[in-house]
Amino acid sequence: MNEDANMKLSLGPVLFYWDRNKTHDFYASMAEQPLDVIYLGETVCSKRRDMMLDDWLGLARDIARVSSAQLVLSGLTLVEAASELSSLRRLCDNGELLVEANDMGAVQLMSERKLPFVGGPALNLYNGHALAELVASGMQRWVPPVEASGQLIGHTLRQLDSLEVARPEVEIFAYGHLPLAYSARCFTARAENRPKDDCQFCCQNYPEGIPLLSQENAPLFTINGIQTMSASVSNLLADYPELVNAGADLLRLSPRAEGMEQVIAAFDAVRKGGLPPLAVDGCNGYWHGQAGMLRAEEAGLC
C-alpha cells in the first residue's frame, strides 16, 4: 500500500563545514547511491570558502559522469553583505545548474532572469496564496519550511489547487538535523570565545556541529556556525504513507557526517514498496503539528 514508484529521493546541501577532501569523498560515495536529486553549495556561511562556486560546478560535472541525479546549486540563506549578494548573483548566473533559492533575494534574481528555481526551506511560504506568488515568479519545486505540519502542507496545496495554479513539485525535509534559525552571530565562534571576524573556521572542527544541552543535559539544539539546528535528527520514514498522501514528490535527506548510505538505503527500500518501520529514532513532532522536538509514538500505525 506504500508503493509509490514515483517518489524521488534527494540529498540536501551539506549544512556543516567539511574540508575539501571530506566533501569530495562524501560526494564520490553519494554519486553511487539511488538518489534522484543532489543539492550542492554553501547555504549557511559565506566565510566557508574551501569550496567556491567553480569548485561546486566542477564537482557537479564529476558527479554527472557517474550519476543520473539532477544536480542543483543551493544559494546562501542569510544574505547581508554586498559581497554576499554579488556571490549570489554569480551563482544565479552559473548557466548550468538549476538553483535553490533560500532567500527572497535569490527569488528576485532568478525571476529577473526568467529562470525556474527551487524554493528552499528557508523561504516563508505557508499558504496557497503565497505559493501562487512564488510559482508566478518561477518556482518549480517547493521545499516547505521545516516547521510546517503534514496537514498544513496538504491544505496549502489544496488552496493552491483552488486558485487554479498548477502545483510545483513538493519536496519534504524527511531526514536530518533540522535547520531552525539563522543569526548574524556565529555561535560556534562564541562557544570557542573567538570573535566572528577571527573565527579560524573553527566550525570545521565539528563535522556534525556542537551539541547544546540544557543544564539537565537534555540535548536541545546543535550549533553550526550562524545556524542553529535541532539536536534530534528528524526522521519521517515511519510516516511514509502520510508523506505520500500529503502530496510529496520528493523526500529530502539532509547530509550527516557518517552513515548516509544506510539512511538512503532505508528510504529507498520503503519507496520501492517495503513496509515502513513502525517507529524510528529521532523526532517527527513538526510533521504531526506538535513541538518539533517530540516523537509522535507509533506514527506508522496512523
Binding site: 542569510l78 547581508e80 548573483r89 516563508n124 505557508y126 499558504n127 496564496h129 548574524a184 552571530r185 543544564q215
Partner: protein
C-alpha cells in the same frame, strides 16, 4: 527620521501620541500579528478612538498584519487587511507574500511596509517586494552591521526603517523556529515566541528554575535576578561549559548611532514592545523624542545624555543594553 512607537492598548497609544511619536503601530486582537498575547492589542472601538486621536494630532497609524497566514485561517488575514484599509491607516505592515499580494491588488491605495518578519536583508530581496507589491518602506532585521545597513540602504529601492530600541531578537526575524521546536508555537505561524502558557517556574533544591514546555531554560542562584525564559536567552551547556550560549538577557539600544543612521539616510526608527506597558511606551517615546529632537537641532553637537541612558537601561531586559549586530564585535 520618523519615530515609530508600539501600542498594545489604547492607553499606550495615547502615551505614544502625547510623548511625540510620529507614527504608532498596532495589531488586531488575533493571530494576524506578531504580538498575539492574551489581553493585548486593540478592539474595533479602541481602534476608532485611537485613529481619531492620531488624526487630531497629525500623526500616523500603522497596523501590523505580519504573521504568516495558514490556509484554514486565510479569511482572517484577508479580513484584517480589509479592516486596516477601511480604517484608513497610513500603512499596513506585512510579511506574507500572499497577504501582500492580496493587499496590493484589493486595496491599491493602501501603503505597504515590509515587516521585519519578511527577513529582507539585501537589496535584491527588497526589490522583490517593491516590484511585486509596491511596498513603500521596509523594516530591516536586526542582523545587519552598521556597514551592512549602509550598503543595503544605498542600494535599496525603498526607504528603510530600522530598530532603535527594545528586546533583541538575535536570530534573523522570520527565520527562527526555535520556539516551535520546543513548544509547537512560533512567531511566524502563531505570533508568539516562548509562549507564556508553556512557561513554568519552580523552586527547586538547585535554585529558582524556569522551564519552557518542561525544558530547563535557566536556573538562578540566590540573589541572581531572573528574567522571562525567552529560549535564546537561557543558560545552556556547550562543550561542558554553562553559559548564555546564544545571547544574554539584554535589549537593543541605538541612541549612540542616531548620527550615523541619519547619515545613512534611514527614514524611520522603530521602538519594539507592543507587549509592554503604557508606562514603558511613555518613557521610551519621551527619551527617543528628546534624542531625535536634540540631534535635529544641532547634529554636530549631539551627545547621548546620561539621563536618557538611565531610563532606557531601567526598561531593558537584564537592565543591560547592547548595540547588537550593528556593532560588528557583537556578532
Amino acid at each position: 527620521m520618523h519615530l515609530v512607537c508600539p501600542a498594545g492598548s489604547l492607553p499606550a497609544l495615547k502615551a505614544a501620541v502625547q510623548q511625540g511619536a510620529d507614527a504608532i503601530y498596532v495589531g488586531f486582537r488575533d493571530d494576524t500579528n506578531a504580538r498575539h498575547f492574551a489581553g493585548l492589542n486593540l478592539d474595533d472601538k479602541q481602534l476608532d478612538k485611537g485613529m481619531q486621536l492620531i488624526r487630531e494630532k497629525g500623526r500616523q497609524l500603522y497596523v501590523a498584519v505580519n504573521t504568516y497566514a495558514q490556509p484554514e485561517g486565510w479569511s482572517r488575514w484577508q479580513r484584517a487587511v480589509d479592516q486596516a484599509a477601511d480604517l484608513g491607516v497610513d500603512a499596513l505592515i506585512a510579511a506574507d507574500p500572499g497577504v501582500l499580494g492580496y493587499a496590493s491588488k484589493r486595496h491599491p491605495q493602501l501603503k505597504l511596509h515590509l515587516s521585519v518578519q519578511g527577513s529582507a536583508t539585501n537589496a535584491a530581496a527588497l526589490g522583490f517586494y517593491q516590484q511585486r507589491y509596491g511596498i513603500s518602506r521596509a523594516v530591516l532585521p536586526r542582523v545587519l552591521s552598521l556597514k551592512q545597513v549602509k550598503q543595503v540602504a544605498a542600494s535599496s529601492p525603498v526607504p528603510i526603517e530600522v530598530f532603535a530600541f527594545g528586546s533583541l531578537c538575535i536570530m534573523a526575524e522570520g527565520r527562527c523556529h526555535l520556539s516551535s521546536y520546543l513548544t509547537g508555537e512560533s512567531p511566524n505561524l502563531c505570533g508568539v515566541c516562548s509562549p507564556a502558557k508553556a512557561v513554568r517556574w519552580s523552586d527547586e533544591p538547585e535554585g529558582l528554575t524556569s522551564r519552557l514546555n518542561n525544558v530547563l531554560i535557566d536556573r538562578y542562584a540566590e540573589g541572581e535576578s531572573a528574567g522571562y525564559p525567552t529560549l535564546c536567552k537561557g543558560r545552556f551547556m556547550v562543550n561542558g561549559k554553562r553559559f548564555h550560549a546564544l545571547e544574554e538577557p539584554t535589549s537593543l539600544n541605538t541612541l549612540d548611532l542616531i548620527p550615523e543612521l541619519a547619515a545613512i539616510g534611514v527614514t524611520a526608527m522603530k521602538i519594539e514592545g507592543r507587549q509592554r506597558s503604557p508606562a514603558y511606551v511613555e518613557q521610551v517615546t519621551r527619551v527617543w523624542r528628546a534624542a531625535l529632537d536634540s540631534y535635529l537641532k544641532a547634529p554636530q553637537r549631539y551627545a547621548v545624555q546620561p539621563a536618557w541612558r538611565q531610563v532606557l537601561d531601567g526598561l531593558s531586559e537584564g537592565s543591560q543594553t547592547t548595540l547588537g549586530a550593528y556593532h560588528r564585535a557583537w556578532q
